[in-house]
Amino acid sequence: MAKLTFVGGIHPFDGKDMSKDKPIKEVLPKGDLVYPLSQHIGAPATPIVAKGDHVLTGQKIAEASGFVSAPIYATVSGTVKAIEPRRVVTGDNVMSIVVENDGRYSEVAYSPVDSYEELTKEQIIGRVKEAGVVGMGGAGFPTFIKLSPKEPEKIEYVIVNCAECEPYLTSDYRRMLEEPEKLVQGLKIILHLFGNARGILAVEDNKPDCIELLKKLTKDEGRISVKALKTKYPQGAERQIIFASTGRSINSSMLPADAGCVVDNVDTVVAVYHAVMLGKPLMNRIVTVTGDAIADPRNFIVRIGTNYHELVEEAGGFKEKPVKIISGGPMMGFGIFDLDVPTTKTASALLCLTQDDVSRMEPSACINCGKCVEACPSRIVPRRLADYAESYREEAFLAENGMECCECGCCSYVCPAKRPLTQTIKSMRKMQLAKRKKK
């Protein structure tokens, strides 16, 4: 059988060996915890605590505001020190709740259930919503919305995105190896919501141990199958993983539900398990701290709100001076100019590199080689779109499907002239999206 995959894509240096063999380690925060009110797509949460309040671990400190939004929980016990703008990974200052950790970790009482079958579907979705679960692969879309499509009976596939195609990242890999039961349980809960759906655990074939383990665990689950996908970036992009595992294709203006699919990332499904079975809100996530500047690269289970400085310290500090620090993976992560930012719900990795490819390589003239066209998973012509974007030729940009770009970065990666194609197209897309919103 041909390998499950998509057209286009690239094979960057994967760097996963640095961190993949070490077990996940827990990090207890020492300094203040910072909770940006906007760590998801949608309206920022509204604080429900005030300066000076004492909060417990697992206590809700900000309420979802509006439909597309998510609540935020304290991940330590302590005192609310301030509610003020703080810098986040994108470089923006975002209104945040700052909690001084009292080091006692006194926890609120949760309401676990013995079996999800004793809950109604509404209760399950309610628990996911209340727990503040959002897509933890990077987008931060509130998960409860994905779990409540207009026509749940039309959902035929629930795909767990276990591809982890971003170079250097091993957090999903470690999670699958160390807590596969939770992952499978989480998937079963989601499948419970969609009576006509089959579950797919879609794993890239560079993780044969995970594939074997998950296959063993699900051999008696008639509705769940494990699918090995070809290792190629961006195999884990939503549209690509749907195509690879089901053969269905959607464009940028469609939702996975339009193709009868629900796609969730590994950590998100585990968070669903915690929310539904244990009644626990989303309080921590796994972060890969890695890169050639890090002394002891590995994965940590981190309380959301923990400062990045502490993560670097836990990983043995810097063995060499980093030049570039990225929150997330090298293909889609954010370059940050210093470490003084908090871990959020969507922070999958902290990558510290001693070399910066971008500033090292000067852009030169395009030679029309077509490598960007070959690599583009959206099957558009990045070279031309970047030209249109540079000269602000809006109509041509839209006519040649510029909005179909998924900003995966493949074109910039392969470009031999080192032209910032993705970046140029991305800024044009942003302008167009902003324009659409205004209308």
Binding site: V7, I10, P12, G91, P167, R239, F243, G247, R248, S249, I250, N251, M254, D258, A259, G260, P322, V323, K324, I325, I326, G328, P330, M331, M332, G333, G335, I336, F337, D338, L353, D356, D357, V358, S364, A365, I367, N368, C369, G370, V373, S378, R379, R383, R384, E400, N401, E404, E407, G409, C410, S412, Y413, C415, P416, A417, K418, T422, Q423, K426
Partner: protein, 311 residues
């Protein structure tokens, strides 16, 4: 402030392939053909190659210096142009043909249109055609110490029988780099393996050309006739090294097939119905001119835009 990190928009990593590494690969891939040409035609060929390459590189350097632009000879693209042009010259050509051709290629075809990436036709081929029109007797004089007769294609056109084996090896007369099919294909394999070129254009070019000569060549499906056409003249060099020139071929996959087929048909027309036995150079530069039209009529289908649920 010195502790601040570098920031940029994603992606933050780049592949190791650069413009100059691609050009170097092309130069290496042309070495077998150039080497065989020198072996076949002697030191005259070597001198012509060196003079032509030196001219193209120097012309680019001088132009950029004079115009106060950034000097870009480090990308080796002018070396590729010079080498390709030299391989398309007869070894008997005087040195100034190389100089004139090299200057025309770089100045008139490349730099005046904006430099690397902006030329609308292949500089080496445009220069060759310029020389061919201006100095026809020099450019079609294939007599040298080793060979006195006509080129295989000219002989084929006048109905003589040919030794296919020596054509495949390259022991025939012709331009410096076009005679040895083996050397050219060897270099092309190297480029294909490195991923610098793919077989879309050469494949559709050669296949459509073969079909064309079977239909209109007057010999039907005659293996000897087909082999003579494939191994003779500039077809191999043109199909693998000049039709695949990035700048002057369509960027889309569908467009590349159309381009290849068009070249096959044009080459067939020129070779069979034209006055000259050759046709590859003209076919490719005419094809180059049609690239904008081809690209316009073959827009790629973006992923998922068929709207259907199932692919």
């Amino acid at each position: 402030m010195s502790d601040l990190m570098k920031v940029s928009s994603n992606p933050h990593v780049r592949s190791k392939v650069t413009t100059s590494s691609i050009m170097l690969a092309v130069i290496v891939a042309l070495l077998p053909a150039a080497g065989f040409g020198i072996y076949n035609f002697g030191v005259d060929a070597l001198i012509l190659i060196v003079v032509t390459v030196a001219t193209t590189v120097f012309t680019e350097y001088a132009y950029e210096k004079l115009m106060g632009k950034k000097v870009t000879i480090g990308d080796y693209s002018s070396v590729v142009t010079g080498l390709l042009l030299a391989l398309n010259l007869p070894s008997s050509a005087p040195w100034w043909i190389g100089v004139l051709g090299g200057m025309f290629a770089i100045l008139a075809v490349k730099m005046l249109f904006g430099g690397l990436g902006q030329n609308f036709m292949n500089p080496a081929l445009a220069a060759r055609c310029f020389l061919l029109i201006s100095f026809t007797s020099i450019m079609t004089n294939f007599e040298c110490d080793t060979y006195t007769g006509a080129t295989p294609l000219a002989a084929l056109k006048s109905g003589e029988s040919l030794d296919i084996l020596s054509m495949v090896i390259g022991k025939t007369s012709g331009t410096i780099g076009e005679t040895s099919m083996i050397a050219i294909v060897l270099g092309a394999c190297f480029l294909v393996l490195l991923g610098v070129i793919d077989l879309r254009i050469p494949g559709s070019y050669i296949v459509s050309f073969v079909i064309f000569i079977c239909l209109f060549g007057g010999h039907g499906v005659n293996t000897a006739y087909i082999s003579a056409h494939l191994a003779g003249g500039g077809l191999m060099l043109g199909a693998f090294f000049m039709a695949t020139d990035y700048v002057t071929r369509p960027i889309t996959k569908a467009g590349q097939y159309v381009f290849g087929i068009l070249l096959g048909i044009l080459t067939g027309i020129f070779r069979i119905f034209g006055p000259s036995a050759e046709g590859v150079s003209y076919a490719i530069i005419i094809g180059n001119l049609l690239v904008p039209l081809i690209e316009k009529s073959t827009p790629p289908k973006a992923f998922g835009t068929k709207g259907g649920k199932r692919a």
